[in-house]
Symmetry: C2
Subunit: 415 residues, 2 copies
Amino acid sequence: MTAMINLGRRAKAAAQTLAVTPTQDKNRALEAITAALATHQASILAANADDIAEAEAGGLTDALIDRLRLTPDRLQAIAAGVQQVAGLPDPVGEEFDVRTLPNGLRVRRRRTPLGVLGVIYEARPNVTVDSAALALKSGNATIMRGGSETLRSNLALIAAICDGLAAAGLPTDSVSYVDKTDRSLVLDMLRLHTHIDMIIPRGGAGLHTFCRENATVPVITGGIGVCHLYVDASADLDAAVGVIHNAKVQRPSVCNALDTLLVHPDVAGTLIPRVVERLGADGVTFRGDARSTALADGIEPAGPEDWDREWLSLVLGIRVVDGLEEAVGHIREHSTGHSDGILTTDAQHAEHFINVVDSAAVYVNASTRFTDGGELGLGAEVAVSTQKLHARGPMGLTELTTYKWIVEGDNHIRS
Amino acid sequence: MTAMINLGRRAKAAAQTLAVTPTQDKNRALEAITAALATHQASILAANADDIAEAEAGGLTDALIDRLRLTPDRLQAIAAGVQQVAGLPDPVGEEFDVRTLPNGLRVRRRRTPLGVLGVIYEARPNVTVDSAALALKSGNATIMRGGSETLRSNLALIAAICDGLAAAGLPTDSVSYVDKTDRSLVLDMLRLHTHIDMIIPRGGAGLHTFCRENATVPVITGGIGVCHLYVDASADLDAAVGVIHNAKVQRPSVCNALDTLLVHPDVAGTLIPRVVERLGADGVTFRGDARSTALADGIEPAGPEDWDREWLSLVLGIRVVDGLEEAVGHIREHSTGHSDGILTTDAQHAEHFINVVDSAAVYVNASTRFTDGGELGLGAEVAVSTQKLHARGPMGLTELTTYKWIVEGDNHIRS
């Protein structure tokens, strides 16, 4: 624990500096990091080549290796992302609920950084840079812990980031990295509530569960989406096929992709064959309940556990439900509370669905793929929360802040 | 775990009803609970008398027994509190960040209840009723677990609450109570993240630590205040003595009472003897550093651990610090981030203190005793959070809510 406490202490000291660093100085540091990523390109790509060689020797799949790989283009895109963060509005310092109470006390709340963020992630090295940039812009220090497959790449990226911080005169302890691959250090990190204010896991369900089970630091859990679309009897079926196709096929490996399609019996006979034809042409396979398998060829019977699967691939569950209430019941039982929608032209059904479905994002006549900080207008995305505390759904810069109460008086005492 | 899962399932079903219950129906239930507390008075007081008899036989201190005791007056005050909650504005349903994006998607966020709250508390039976009322008003179900010393009183109060709920046609599962005193049930409750959305501990530091160490449900930690006032060289000393007296003496047993006084050397020789005289007359004893003990009779030397003590009694730590920076350094090291203040007439010093002291409530020229939802204008108080996620400082009804994103389109797809 000593090593982690020392890291935490240094990060906390850096956070105290960042908390009072003006916006223009933080932006200057982001520009310097952008520049440093370019000047460090050779060492970053060399480190990444070593990671890739080890991954190939270790027999990782091509798909996973592609996620680890950095190229000059990808690195440039990562650097451009940092520059874009510099252009976003700074949430820190905003004041709200400004009031003078009847007794004359002047009360307001001021948005402040959280302090120290812990980011625990897997695979993609771009997370290292994205997280550091978003944390820095919102005045937070970061302690990062990436996957062992990208250790060399991450350390090379961190070296560039620290060069940028130093060039801009900000503490290099603002961004630090847990460079041992020992899992006990992750446990230490999860329990360092004296020095870390929030843990953000970025990875699969296993990582989120591990963090929730072991952390004493507050954790943002999320990113796991068993997502539903319910096609109502009144839906525009031509449009519905397009929305379903987009939600399933546009990027099947992500959390806001469609997992289960629920269909009203009045339109199931028309819609399901069309869905199977259109999505099947793009390689989608189907798992259906007994009523849907009877309506089209090529639907395998679904097992009971299939309704709780986040497919992350070109598989779609299909179930015929007896109307809106049964659709809502299915969603209540199987949704992870990420993104669920209704396709309907009936305004009352839409309103009912919005009211009773308790998910981070509830859709009417749109693809679930829009649950994303960039798509919904936050300018950036740190994570998608499916828990209800602090922030729900896409989290942007504001969600990396807290507030303090400021109370000014004329030597007021409480009576 | 089975018993707790069943309780959780019923609470979650009740929460789904409460989430769509109109404000007037929730208010009607609060009125019915107010009435039921009056009609149940005899059984509640009888149950409380049994608890008190057992506490006396068990040798509990008079001070603790007084905290457990219900009288007709106290019960009436509790019922009046429920009626007052009925009069507060309902935060549920409020919509914010309403926008139409460039692509035509209509996006907004709507405030919704958290769902199921777990309240784990000690001693005072009024917490049973207060928590149930605030949760109900904000559309949440509650699972409560009070101390074993008040089990009979709490069950009698819950019976009255459930009668009120039933009379108003709301599910009686909206408020439930873990009526075994077995500690393993608390552990089950802390780990029921599938059914409980937030745990609110109300009690001492030990309870908060136990919850943080063991919960997989998000916990609001707080309520522990090692609170400071720093008297600057420029302070109005007459006024300062009054503020210090109020912060320490007005109610010494609570979390926002003053624990440590920090004094600038220029005014220490004048101020400290006056503080010792004025507060000493009300029974306060003092623990000081070497410089302060030299300035007045009756200050015992402080041990190093005394600077981290939440006294909760008529004891005050006093330390002479070499100006603002050393005061801030002391606060950074020893504050629990609850309530800390500066007494000064120097606007620049005040502004610096506000900027760099990272506590839930930061004061200028006022007593720390104002850190309270009622005092700061929230209308009610659920808890005082000293963590940074979700809510910081006093929590009112709004802090018992989350939000959902509502996205409406015209069959929009992501490109």
